[in-house]
Symmetry: D2
Subunit: 387 residues, 4 copies
């Protein structure tokens, strides 16, 4: 039996802001003291994680001098070197400071937009310096509560402009950096512009360099919109755009909870792990979650260990599921395998159409066919329950 | 003062299935007798609508003979000619018959997929024969409840295949027909593949002929996912993809209600009408709603008249809003006009970046700036309330 | 190892309408032929269920003659006798027929209200004749889409009046029948009057004979409102009002799905089974779910077997969970056991207050305390996953 | 035409925490400086409000000395005296300090529960000293994310115990104070125990002194659960339990937004004002909302003025609506007035039942009847739009 002990090879990563979350919420003050990023690197490394990710201001407080910046970076790189941990992703904090209250790339104030671009350029330099292969964009403040105040067609144009500018910079610098958009339907803004994985892809497709940019889907974010995360990741994979992933949990369409991976909707978590493990996705398995506010510092590391352990348990179950002949039979009864077959070999042609028109369909028999989904789903449940 | 009386010029259209809905729901039998499509055309024409839309089976029952089909079509065209009404959109019913229980273009059964393609080809012919300029695809059954039974990456591939095939057919026939995808997050399936306007655009961008295909957003459908319909339509407009629109109302993230236009969320309805009227959109203003189940036949026509009348009232209010100097001042205080300005003139260049890096930002002043959204929104509310 | 084979002792029951659901939905025709109730009794009995429940019209079509009624009842009782199955609950269909389009007990039409009362009296007689110990009221049509049309204060008064009347009848007849209200937030009506378990209790508390009436919580219904079903059942138990329960599954706040028990939210299902098994609840374990529309008749019985089997698996896990010393330690670390202790022994008194005022609290220490919920929840997950 | 200028007679009140909200959210730092409570009293008084409400810590920081407390109270009372403003409601902050991370009355730590009781006793004294007629309980931290850690049946018992204790204290002191529970389904806790107005009533009904305790429904809170606020207030009124009300706005089932009254769902706001104005409710019209985070200080007062102005506009519309003969006709067509009539005069009796059984119902005619809700709702919309 497996011990479910994570190693560097498992590619697990945590945001510095996740274990470092101090337990503040809209109604409450912090319940835990701040964590030193160096401490986080060491503790996560000891638990078996492969790396960390960070916002610029997770490491370097807003407004730090250049000297202070360099000191903090040097100290952090030492910890990385010492532990063998990597920076798996970097991103910009464009949401905490009040300057971004109306948006960053889509603020109505052009000076704020310009400031946001410059802050991001600096943060990309930091990401590159730390060796991050992926640079994420979550547009936390890119949205509105008062729709009349912010014409959304203009907002999409400004969003594109900012991403095009930053792609230009990355190319110009020759950075080996791929960009990834992280969608979210709402919170902290009333309605976000890049609401779902679909919206992110639609924006990416309209960039000057769409090939540089993919998506970073997050379980909680699609769940807030009541959407299937499995479908979201499948769409990203189908489009060749799964550049990064944010694992956590969320209980339905309410405020953003960022719960421990596996804390809610274990079936979707299981099917997600199965999909990731079979998809060829080789990026970080990144946890964007945080310990519950009721926890003390011990709880932080229980939380982090739990995220990784549950992933490994589910991965083992996915292998067992796919090796089970009863599952193979149920998948066949459901016709799951035949969805991969072309409906019309070779696509449209006058001849193919003629074939279709001449075909005889036994409508009654096709209408009477059952798809045995109950049986298959019961097998999913029983594998999950380990019986 | 306006009389808010609709005319053909207002481009209002109703689905035959909307006024024809008999009041059946998951828990109840019909409360109204079926309506003859010819009667619907006449009554809607008399109320000032410009046209109707239809599924193939709204006019021609599933399984009708060719002779019966021709008779029904001829009779229907007579009614159109007599009333001056047009068919503004056509679509295929790929969801009512049990043959489509597991999907149409994404059924796990290849024969069902082929049957669905043939049914659609026939229905496109019908649409073309009736002069419909737009052909809509709502994938009501394209989704799943048991995710393991239907690999979503395969489903997206089959969806694309079907649309590519049908675009091929339309081109081959030389039909003047534009296609439009209608997204919906769920219902009747547990999770739909084309969940939002974003998802629809992402799929369209990956077709062989993306220029032939746009979107048909529906108020109720984006609302079910808790998303801003205004943002959805803005995204479609920004992408040049607003080919059609479905107007109705919905009360939050619950079962699909298809209420009378304006019945819920009047503010979003107002801002939507304002956007449509100023956007250059010149397609049909199409109502995909139905009378409440508590209504008798009189209620059907109250419902239809109400949809159009509310639109016209809101359009007049939108003009008044945009002509109000207090609104102009509030928009300026919010900075709404400046979001249209490029953030960096000319986009990325080393020089532009240098300029950005050398710029001095008064961070404290920018952070202290208010955006006066409360004042603007109060003006929206007061225009809406007519005070 | 258990075989998870249900027996009569497990008290499992299914509505005739659950296995009998023909697969009709708002967008689709039936996919399965109707089931003879006698067949359902036999098949369910063979699978190990203890009984069935029914609406009057599940057995006796609306408008049947007295002779036809008696024939159908006799035939049904024979099947019960033959199989040893019981009728565990009866209820009235006050939602399918168009006469109830505006409500039954709260219809704006007084004649409809009177008709609904009489139909219910007859159906209570049927329930008593069949030996049902519980009579359920789900007010499917008691609600509104147009709030102005139905003053809700009047509606609550009419609801109370109807229940008082029916309690009067049950007492008068000397029936050994307990009544149970089943709440649901919406669907088929826009907003239901008895929206949650809390609403049901508030209504019951205002009846003439509150002691005769309890609640029938349903997983899907509380989930539609985004509420914890575990809290709902706990509230009902605390109030001594858990008279019946409807087990199924639902994926978040969308249309009513009535999925197989355990199909979604396995963690809540597990904690629910644990609560029920330890609570002394000895009523039927009743499944109000239906097979997926993609199923054929075989799928019906897979579905039914799956509901029971998952319950039994979870019950075994609940026993193992409560016997695990690591769990006991985690519960202690979380302080779960001390919530049962009175906060102030003996309740309010001037003296107790003085004690409270004189007490010294180490606020910093109390504020720093962690509650170890992450560790406990991880144990829940691992018991569930069977590792 | 009205000027919609509020006066003391309109009974408008604002929480100190509402105008005083500094714009912090889960992802962002404050955007506005703190407001001195004295300043808030003066500004609100100048705008026409009649009073303010407060948490103990809105006036007196946690941990203040007795001397500091007295100084702050004296200064505050001066401002009240000077402006003629009243304290319309008082409440306890049992959610901000980390000591309450696991709950206050339902914390798993008995010492925390005792501390919470004592803090509340002190805060009740403060409320009484300031002349507040209502004391509100919002159980912000009374809930859980990890259900296994907090047995909900015990939690309900502790909740009751705390309220019984505090009722005892209020009686003992002879305070003229009525208590009101404020429900909320979630946030900041994953699931709150007192989730809806129904839950609050069910808890109140089980107290030792239910007559002392009513409810304080809040628009945003019921809306988060997708429930009709109109139904919630109607239930409270029907039960004689509407002791207080929190007016604001919320956009569907997402994070708690606390928007300006009237910012969303104007139709429900209109029907609510109509209900309140005709119900005899004479408590404060209390706004529990806050200015958008994008606002500066000017925006605070625009926000506050807007809340009151929209209420007055809607109240005028409600009067016009009820005076409109077309509305009277539509209400009659809908049968709205007849819902107030008893269904069975005198309630249950054997004779009444016999009458019911002998009555002849024209089922087909009753089933065919329409309820003209579309027409009525269109009139609601047009009154709202002012046409």
């Amino acid at each position: 039996m497996s011990t479910y002990a994570p190693t560097r090879d498992h590619r697990f990563s945590f945001g510095l802001w996740t274990v470092g979350q101090v337990g503040r919420d809209p109604f409450g003050d912090p319940t835990r003291p701040p964590l030193d990023p160096v401490e986080s690197v060491k503790r996560l490394g000891a638990l078996g994680a492969a790396g960390v990710s960070l916002h610029d201001n997770d490491l370097i407080p807003f407004g730090s001098s250049a000297a202070e910046r360099d000191r903090l970076v040097a100290r952090f790189r030492e910890a990385l070197a010492e532990t063998g941990m990597r920076v798996t992703m970097a991103t910009t904090n464009l949401f905490t400071h009040p300057i971004f209250r109306d948006g960053a790339f889509t603020s109505n104030d052009r000076d704020v937009r310009r400031f946001a671009l410059r802050k991001t350029v600096d943060a990309i330099d930091l990401g590159a310096e730390l060796g991050a292969p992926i640079y994420v964009f979550w547009g936390g403040r890119e949205g509105s509560e008062v729709a009349a105040a912010k014409p959304a067609t203009d907002a999409f144009e400004r969003y594109k402009e900012a991403l095009d500018f930053l792609c230009g910079y990355v190319r110009d610098q020759g950075y080996e950096l791929r960009l990834a958009l992280e969608p979210k339907p709402n919170e902290p803004r009333g309605d976000s512009f890049v609401a779902t994985v679909g919206h992110a892809l639609a924006l990416i497709d309209r960039l000057e360099h769409p090939e540089m940019v993919g998506v970073n889907p997050e379980i909680a974010h699609e769940t807030i919109a009541g959407l299937s995360f499995l479908h979201a990741v499948s769409l990203a994979l189908w489009a060749g755009k799964l550049f990064h992933i944010d694992l956590n949990a969320q209980r339905g369409g309410r405020f953003d909870q960022d719960l421990r991976f596996g804390q809610e909707d274990l079936k979707e978590a299981f099917l997600l792990v199965r999909l990731l493990e079979s998809s060829g996705y080789d990026g970080p398995l990144h946890f964007d979650a945080h310990p519950l506010r009721v926890e003390d510092e011990d709880g932080i590391w229980e939380f982090a260990a739990g995220c990784m352990r549950t992933y490994l348990i589910l991965a083992e179950k996915a292998r067992a599921f796919d090796a089970d002949p009863r599952v193979a039979a149920a998948l066949e009864a459901a016709g799951a395998g035949t969805l991969g077959l072309p409906t019309v070999e070779g696509g449209y042609s006058a001849e193919a159409l003629r074939g279709l028109r001449e075909e005889t369909f036994d409508v009654d028999a096709l209408a009477a066919r059952g798809y045995a989904n109950e049986r298959l789903d019961q097998l999913v449940v029983e594998h999950l329950l380990g019986v």
